[in-house]
């Protein structure tokens, strides 16, 4: 990318250094986290769907991880637009571009208008 010393690829750290969070962890000294998003919150959100009866803890964990990946994906894509426009701040229009460019972000089409 023109004008940048480090490509955005190098700046983006992978999620390798994640550690473990099991919800039943009673030892407060070490909270290591496999995912950075709170499982309880995500579980709550999943259950908001009236059709959903139950979701296993492992399923919630996977959804949490997928959401993390989604955030990274969306942010990276938006950032590409930021760089392309030679700006330093990721703005709403960059998210618009991201949603337009990436097929599987199509479900977000109305979301950015709220």
């Amino acid at each position: 990318m023109a004008g940048m010393e480090n490509s955005s690829e190098e700046q983006i750290s992978s999620v390798d250094d994640v550690v473990v969070d099991d919800n039943t962890n009673t030892e407060s000294e070490k909270t290591e986290r496999i995912v950075k998003l709170p499982l309880s919150r995500i579980k709550h959100m999943v259950k908001l769907d009236p059709d959903v009866t139950l979701a296993s803890q492992d399923a919630v964990l996977m959804i949490a991880k997928a959401t993390e990946l989604f955030i990274q994906d969306l942010t990276k894509e938006a950032y590409t637009s930021t760089v392309h426009s030679k700006r330093k701040t990721v703005q709403r229009k960059d998210l618009d571009v991201a949603v337009d460019n990436v097929d599987y972000f199509a479900f977000l089409d109305g979301t950015l208008d709220t």
Partner: protein, 128 residues
């Protein structure tokens, strides 16, 4: 923490900020953009849960399993997330196993049970 209505539920701002910071350390992200990303997350979670639930129901199961989530991701075009999502499951199991092993070790001071038993028997023999 302010009371929020259920439909306003989203992932915590702080968690999102941390993730963005780790992903793009030197880049600014406008505040309203962060809010938008939060909303997108909410949409994503509902999308995936809904799809996973449909798959679950089709299989005539009552509980959404990781397998259902994986298929949902694939169906929705997020197949590229599957590998890491699965890896997370492995990590949980590995960690749980390690924890169990570690606590057992602590109790036995690193000595296997048969050996402890043998030592105990020896001690009894000495006393008897």
């Amino acid at each position: 923490m302010a009371e929020r209505e259920d439909d306003e539920l989203s992932i915590p701002r702080a968690a999102l900020n941390k993730m963005i910071k780790e992903l793009l350390p030197n880049i600014r992200v406008a505040n309203d953009s962060r809010d938008l990303v939060l909303n997108c997350c909410t949409e994503f979670i509902h999308l995936v849960s809904s799809e996973a639930n449909e798959i679950c129901v089709k299989q005539q199961k009552k509980t959404i399993s990781p397998e259902h989530v994986l298929i949902a991701l694939e169906n929705l075009g997020f197949g590229s997330y599957k590998a890491e999502a699965q890896a997370v499951l492995q990590q949980t199991k590995a960690f749980a196993l390690k924890k169990r092993k570690a606590s057992t070790k602590l109790e036995n001071l690193g000595i296997p049970e048969e050996e402890l038993f043998r030592q105990q028997q020896e001690l009894f023999a000495k006393v008897g």
